[in-house]
Symmetry: C2
Subunit: 611 residues, 2 copies
């Protein structure tokens, strides 16, 4: 039986039968591991997710975080779950042993995280942000900063945030106005005083951890005492909620105040805060106003450094979106197997009622969900596998190639599960009928929770501009060429299987078209309208990637030997989901690409007054 | 300036410039009316909707109906709004004068209702159900039943419901088990005692009205004392909450009890009840258990009679879905005009921030919404215009043709706005960014409210089977031929305008393909898999209808003389929305139709175990 939160058979299939993660154990970094340790970690994740994360899923939606003079308070169950997660070592799962981590491959860690996300995405957001935060510090912080902040995060004593948006600057980070003024230097590095307001800060305050490590983007004044326009002056600072005492423990309160909590459609267990830095009204650290912050890296390097965490966060958002969709699929599948309604089409309205899974339209809705959510999980695990390749690939060329391909796929990993995981949740409700619209069924909440994902960490529109503008056109198609080569290999393998020849041909044709359209855009030079239709391009590209990953899965299933009837049914399902995706989904790329290729200005040219 | 709930300029355009409703005044039934009375009614609707319906939109979401021993209680503001609606005469707007109605054309009444739906769909549900209920009684009830129940409904003293679903029988009405046993006869007709449970009853109880008129589907026992299987034994009964005294006023409590309220994702201002009939525990009317019900029409005619109200309700659901989308569009348009973020693409990141409506991708999202919601409203008003034609068309042939076309379009009028109005609400959130995900902005609630519409009054899947199975194949394409003829006329007119020639050609091609696919399905005989892919067929058909209605609107705009710059901008917007729909939406029909035409059994043939 599949567990309530994930199909463990599918996780096995993706990790072992498809991605062959056991082979990673041959590499130095993972030589202490084996298939057994990988499986034990996944098992533990499933148990913890089911016992510590899942039970308060609905409670944390009903009883939202609250704010009082002491700050934000969350449900005790949320705090307990985060602590259990840390106690089990998951905060450090992907960190090296010298940082007290388990030194697991990123792909195994990601598969473990999938379980927590599926069980309770809002509670899982705290560790997700914290590991990203610690990862950034491990990469760019000084040894003292790592000891002071990253290690307590890995131990689960501190939690982390990322503070980018401001009320007047959402997606547009060049317009931030949080100001950082030099204030000396101490063992933790160059010290600044920050002042400004940050908006939409997930985990911006909570009563779970001893301390909170805010990573804050702010602008250092130029020589003229003014903020440098654009992104050049943007720098990154560690702003702890509590300054550290001589022993490195939390001491004096820093000048950071929660000015308000947002009340959201879903994802309610995660506090979402408006933070005021440097007001000096409630807290005056070391006797004066201004939030104390320590520079990470150098002045002006804030954005590139932040993107280290941001890229990871984007893939994590994709994972969360995939898993919200995934659990909705499993719930609607279980419902469809039990709910009696109507009769077989062939029975002409007579005979006993049948489970609704027997109806063709319900099967269509289930298969659509399956193709979206299992496809989305495959995408995220593939991206996570590229992270490992980027760090431990055998040659410099392999590592660079993996990094480039990961960069190209990151906007897809963020946006595709967000759009289509939500579409899956929509279908899960539909299968439940009226019941799915009530708050008695989790599919209702899964849908509300997932609606956040196309918005945060860069909207779908922002991902589209990143994909087409930076990752393809500015890159001059280098990474795209790598992807095309991998796809061509898959096509070649699939052509040898008559059962998959139709799909192989369709995939090759789709990518020929995607490549041709991208190539023609590449001839437009710096036309300001180059990215006008970036979003339909993203849609087509994403479907093209997913079709590839489905053909990859079908190839494994097609060539596998089924040990028993269950295994045979599982492989049959994988092949059917692949065929479904090619028949029902991939053809959508045609209309999307024709929009891009036509360079239509129907939208762009319409004056605001005509709407 | 457009009002907050609707663009009045658009309503004018649709009613007068496109549908020419003033011409209806030449008909006997509407001879007391004029353009002035029509416009006055619309004006009054807008004012009432803004002052009585809109202000408690969010309150009624936050403070849900509650249940105690006296039954269900709603916000006082909901009750006040419904009473104000009735006082203004809107309950009877489309009813004839002899039933104390205003005898307005259905299309004008529908345009008025659009305002109430846009302002507060949950509050508008009470009048919507009541007018449908009274309409059914006016058509099928005895004079005594009309006097006793329909007239107090038209006066707003009583409200009505429709009681179809049961816990074990959602969409499958042949499986209902509510039982009706003969219990004599009185002035209100053959009297029965009903027992059973009804689920998902909107307005099933409330403290707004003096009495509630439940229209209940139940089965009369056959000669053998058993319920007749299938739909044949299904009959319709009036079951009032309070029996009437000798003067026709509410008296003894009937044996109907609210067993529970559903707690929904949205649409919360409308009570949604589990009703128990005939338990005999709390109420024993006339000394014994059993809910007293009066037969409407004859035994076994329940379903065809109920469909009188159901068809109207389906179009009303479409209207509500359209208007939820419509208001979201207007809110996101206003937001996009004010919110500063980023710079013009051509400005290369320098210069002042611009309103986000200046960004091509935001324009794309606005134009998508515009094409969905103004298109959906046009569809509903077209359907309402057919209702008038059905009743007052000049010849029997015209009336029959209108009825047939209305039957064909009803599943589209129900499902298309439900699917695409919701898609519009999704985009409205996206334009608001993080703000749209908070409960501080109405777009959040509009999205939750609209998620009901693809479910109730027949899911999208049920509409698809109705369209393809009953309205096309069983009808042998008669109604489809009528539609095709009207579309051909539009194409012919558009071909004379070079600016619309591309769209004319595309529309003709799309309908050639739709007709061909339907024709090939028609050769399949009674293959049980005939309807397996009915839903993609519905999707394609719906987009084909909407493309037609957009070309109709563009034709009006193209040939209109603009009196000023505002009018010119309005017409420009209509033409752009048409072009957008043809470029971005209509091409989706290709992939949908190819699925249908391929008769794929990828979904239908997959065994339940393989999911």
């Amino acid at each position: 039986m599949p567990s309530a939160i994930i199909n463990s058979r599918d996780v096995d299939f993706l990790l072992h039968e498809w991605l062959g993660v056991e082979a990673l154990c041959a590499r130095d970094r993972f030589s202490d591991h084996s298939r057994e340790t990988f499986d034990a970690v996944i098992d533990l994740a499933r148990r913890l997710a089911e016992t510590e994360f899942l039970p308060h899923y609905r409670t944390a939606d009903r009883i939202e975080p609250r704010l009082d003079d002491d700050g934000a308070h969350v449900l005790p169950e949320v705090a307990e779950a985060v602590k259990a997660f840390a106690r089990a070592g998951f905060m450090g799962a992907a960190f090296p042993a010298e940082l007290d981590g388990m030194q697991l491959p990123h792909v195994v860690y990601t598969a473990a995280m999938a379980h927590f996300m599926a069980a309770n995405v809002a509670t899982a957001a705290y560790p997700m942000l914290t590991t990203g935060n610690a990862g950034l510090l491990a990469a760019f912080g000084t040894p003292a900063q790592i000891d002071a902040f990253a290690k307590p995060e890995i131990a689960g004593r501190y939690l982390g945030t990322m503070c980018l948006s401001e009320p007047q600057a959402g997606s547009s980070l060049s317009d931030i106005t949080t100001r950082a003024v030099p204030d000396g230097e101490d063992v933790l590095g160059p010290r600044y005083r920050l002042s400004g307001n940050k908006m939409w800060i997930s985990g911006g305050d909570q009563d779970i951890s001893e301390n909170i490590v805010h990573l804050v983007l702010a602008k250092v004044e130029g020589a003229d005492g003014k903020l440098v326009p654009g992104t050049k002056g943007v720098s990154l600072f560690i702003v702890p909620k509590f300054l550290l005492d001589a022993d490195g423990g939390p001491a004096e309160r820093n000048d950071v105040v929660v000015a308000g909590l947002n009340h959201k459609m879903g994802y309610r267990g995660t506090t979402n805060c408006l933070l005021n830095f440097g007001e000096g009204t409630r807290h005056r650290p070391m006797g004066k106003a201004g939030a104390v912050g320590y520079l990470v890296g150098s002045v002006g390097q804030g954005l590139p450094i932040m993107f280290h965490m941001m890229n990871e966060a984007r893939i994590s958002v994709g994972l969360g979106a995939a898993m919200l969709g995934y659990r909705g699929y499993l719930l609607s599948l279980a419902y469809a197997r039990e709910r009696l309604q109507g009769r077989h089409a062939a029975a002409r309205g007579t005979g006993p009622m049948v489970p609704i899974i027997e109806h063709a339209d319900v099967k269509r809705m289930l298969l659509a969900q399956k193709s979206y959510v299992e496809g989305a999980l495959a995408l995220i695990l593939y991206a996570a596998r590229l992270v490992d390749e980027q760090h431990t690939g055998e040659s410099e060329a392999q590592r660079r190639a993996a990094a480039e391909l990961l960069g190209l796929l990151t906007p897809i990993a963020k946006s595709w599960p967000s759009e289509w995981g939500l579409a899956a949740n929509d279908i899960a409700i539909q299968i439940h009928g009226g019941y799915g619209y009530t708050r008695d069924f989790d599919v209702e909440q899964l849908y509300r929770d997932n609606r956040l994902n196309p918005i945060h960490e860069g909207t779908t529109g922002v991902q589209a501009m990143d994909l087409l503008g930076r990752k393809i056109l500015k890159d001059r198609g280098v990474a795209l060429g790598q992807l095309a080569a991998r796809i061509a290999k898959t096509v070649g393998r699939a052509q040898c299987h008559p059962e998959l020849a139709v799909e192989a041909k369709a995939l090759a044709a789709a990518w020929t078209e995607i490549g041709a359209v991208a190539g023609r855009l590449g001839t437009m030079g710096d036309d300001p309208h180059l990215l006008d239709n970036a979003t339909p391009f993203l849609s087509a590209f994403g479907h093209g990637v997913l079709a590839w990953l489905w053909l990859e899965q079908a190839l494994v299933a097609q060539t596998a030997t089924a040990a028993d009837a269950d295994a045979a049914a599982f492989y049959q399902g994988k092949i059917a989901a692949c065929r479904f995706f090619f028949a029902f989904e991939l053809p959508k790329t045609g209309p999307w690409l024709r929009i891009v290729d036509s360079r239509t200005d129907i939208a762009a040219s319409l004056p605001a007054a005509a709407f």
